[in-house]
């Protein structure tokens, strides 16, 4: 029995299909990440797992308990953090924590060890109303409240959205610690660097799963060699790479029947992907048949001398963008 088993989960809002036939499992004590653009269906999926909504089709089972028929028992084992801060802003930090402890039939004292590393950081402000906390502190409080009843699974819907970089890093360190306590965690995030810290990642888009794998496998599943091209004039570099591809693409936009020059330095199928800007470089794939030097030469001849190119390990983003294009 896995911690979470989802079979053919489907959900609709009116005519819009939010989730389309999703099946996956999450193991005990696994840190399982979902990444995908806004509107991909992550929140809907998490709300189903949190027993808040019933899926229109399929079933989800947590620790052997169906989320629809056994929701009452299940709720004792779920810690849920919605995407939006949803604690009482007019109650103090301590009152909020005490509130959630009491309605779960426990006390702060009983499970203090579990929340201690997190709660200790906000304890100096325990008499402050939750609405007056900073974003990072609010989130630590929300996590403490979700943990106070010692849940077996944590469901965290974009917990770090809108939180500063330092707090984000701290937050993920806490998740790793909680994983050590044997708590299963499913988490969604728009940040690719956070996804790398998960045991496994599911890529989700338009309500369908594009793939599930460990971060490393996902990066290696890219299949082609990926290069980062840099040049001081990044905008012109991007344009030059784009036009280079367009000129060489198998179906030129001009629809001209003129035969291409046979002495073209690069083969027609050179670029499988259009170049994508990433930070200060442009990522590009080139097939085995040509070398990176030829690309630099081609750039130099189109007025961009001094471009640098180096092979890089594909990031999750690269794979994600590639998978998205295949879908389209």
């Amino acid at each position: 029995m896995e911690a979470l088993e989802a079979y053919n989960i489907t959900h609709r809002y009116g005519r819009v299909t939010a989730l389309d036939d999703l099946s996956f499992t999450v193991g005990h004590g696994e840190l399982f990440g979902f990444i995908g653009p806004d509107g991909a269906g992550k929140t809907t999926l998490f709300r189903i797992a949190a027993t808040l909504i019933m899926p229109a089709g399929g079933r989800m089972i947590l620790f052997g308990l169906n989320t629809v028929s056994r929701y009452r028992e299940l709720r004792n084992h779920i810690g849920y953090m919605p995407g939006r801060f949803s604690l009482y802003t007019d109650l103090t930090v301590e009152e909020n924590l005490n509130f959630y402890a009491t309605i779960f039939g426990t006390t702060i004292k009983e499970n203090y060890h579990l929340i201690e590393p997190i709660y200790r950081q906000i304890e100096p402000f325990k008499k402050r109303q939750a609405g007056r906390l900073s974003g990072g502190m609010k989130q630590k409080l929300a996590l403490s409240c979700a943990l106070i009843h010692k849940p077996r699974i944590l469901i965290l819907d974009e917990p770090t959205t809108g939180v500063d970089a330092v707090s984000r890093t701290e937050f993920w360190e806490m998740l790793t610690q909680l994983k050590g306590e044997g708590i299963t965690i499913i988490v969604s995030t728009p940040y690719m660097d956070e996804a790398l810290r998960c045991d496994r990642i599911a890529l989700i888009q338009n309500g369908t799963l594009l793939g599930i794998n460990t971060p490393d496998s996902i990066r290696h599943s890219y299949g082609k060699k990926l290069y980062a091209v840099t040049h001081p004039d990044r905008y012109r570099l991007l344009l030059a790479l784009r036009s280079l591809i367009q000129a060489l693409s198998p179906e030129p936009l001009s629809h001209s029947h003129e035969p291409r020059a046979t002495d073209a330095p690069l083969s027609v199928s050179a670029f499988g992907l259009s170049p994508e800007p990433f930070g200060d470089s442009v990522h590009i794939t080139i097939p085995e048949s040509i070398t990176s030097g030829e690309v630099v030469a081609a750039l130099a001849s189109s007025g961009l001398p001094g471009a640098e190119i180096r092979e890089i390990l594909p990031g999750i983003e690269d794979v994600f963008l590639e998978l998205m294009k295949k879908e389209v």
């Binding site: 779920i78 849920y80 604690l87 009482y88 802003t89 109650l91 779960f104 039939g105």
Partner: protein
């Protein structure tokens, strides 16, 4: 049960911390009582009367002085002719114009028949009608005096003399009539608006999401949201009653216990409505719009200003499901007439049925939608 007590404690703590709520609980009953009760009156006093006297005789002057001597009329002008009188009516400077023709005193002396013309501004039909009635009765008195003094009839004209006594409100004090009604409006506002807003607020700020994942049962949640406003409603009713007693010396003829029992049943009905409307709204703004619409209808149809018995039949039928109408009637009967349980049993039973129906409907809707 322990969980419910804890939830209630949390609700009261939040209500106390909400500066608006905490103030409204005290301020609303005080303001409603002190402003609405003395302000709303149907008494028609100081009607502006303009008189065009073509006759200018001792007889016509005597009639005018009789009119101006009564507390109902204030002579606001003496236009020279018809055109001036019309102008006064149009500008609102006169509510009624009395025109005394130039043959008035001759008519009284037996030459021809004396006539008077009365023009009334009937935009407000009630005050026009009342003013006209007052005027006619003063003219009738005057007429009788003339007949007696001219010796045309003995001092004691045979006829039926009607002596009237107004029961339950001998001085026809409108405050006594309005105050029980204002108390109903007060607890309607507390029960429906405050409770409903509190319910929708959890939805609007998203805390309900977090609560729904906990083992807290729906009924515990509903009870924790409704009970505080039940208590606050009764508290405000007592406060309003005390204010009425101190400020207006309102009589209380019936049983206070019965009065509060009925108010408690009414509050259950109103809280049911608040819960029901809250399932239809996802923001406080939406809730206010829905609640305002229904509260207006309930109050205006309830018979607070005009007797519901004179409303069209369909309106009276609507009042079978209007909790405000029941309590309006019960309050006035208990407070002013001193009616006992047997006198109001029918209304009380109907109100109880309504309360049970509303709260059941609301809980069902709440389970389904929230």
């Amino acid at each position: 049960m322990r969980k419910l007590l804890f939830l209630l404690k949390k609700e009261f703590r939040q209500i106390r911390r909400n500066p608006f709520m905490a103030r409204a609980i005290i301020a609303v009953p005080l303001l409603q009582m002190l402003i609405l009760v003395p302000a709303i009156t149907f008494e028609v006093k100081r009607i502006d009367l303009a008189v065009t006297d073509y006759d200018r005789s001792p007889a016509s002057r005597e009639l005018i002085s009789k009119l101006s001597g009564s507390s109902f009329f204030r002579i606001s002008g003496a236009p020279a002719g018809q055109a001036g009188a019309d102008q006064l009516l149009l500008s609102g400077d006169a509510d009624i114009v009395l025109i005394i023709p130039d043959d008035f005193s001759e008519g009284l002396a037996g030459i021809g028949k004396p006539t008077l013309q009365v023009l009334a501004d009937a935009v407000n039909a009630t005050s026009a009608q009342l003013g006209w009635n007052y005027l006619v009765s003063i003219v009738r008195d005057y007429n009788r005096d003339v007949i007696i003094s001219s010796g045309l009839a003995p001092a004691a004209i045979p006829g039926i003399s009607v002596s009237s006594r107004y029961w339950y409100n001998p001085d026809l004090n409108y405050k006594y009539y309005m105050l029980p009604g204002i108390l109903v409006i007060l607890i309607t506002a507390i029960g429906l608006l405050m409770a409903g807003l509190n319910l929708v607020r959890e939805k609007e700020i998203g805390t309900i999401e977090q609560i729904n994942v906990t083992p807290v049962k729906k009924w515990e949640l509903i009870a924790s949201k409704v009970i505080p406003f039940f208590i606050i409603g009764l508290f405000d009713l007592a406060l309003g009653l005390i204010v009425g007693w101190i400020a207006f010396d309102i009589p209380f003829e019936g049983s206070i216990l019965l009065f509060f029992a009925c108010a408690a049943i009414f509050l259950v009905a109103v809280l049911g409505l608040a819960l029901f409307f809250s399932t239809m709204a996802s923001t406080q703004q939406q809730f206010l719009f829905i609640a305002f619409f229904f509260v207006m209808i309930f109050i205006l149809m309830s018979g607070i200003f005009t007797p519901s018995e004179s409303m069209p039949v369909w309106a009276q039928q609507f009042n079978y499901v209007n909790p405000v109408a029941y309590l309006m009637r019960i309050n006035r009967m208990v407070m002013l007439k001193g009616s006992g349980f047997q006198d109001i049993a029918r209304d009380m039973v109907a109100l109880t049925v309504l309360a049970l129906a509303f709260i059941t409907l609301a809980i069902r809707a709440y389970r389904k939608r929230a």
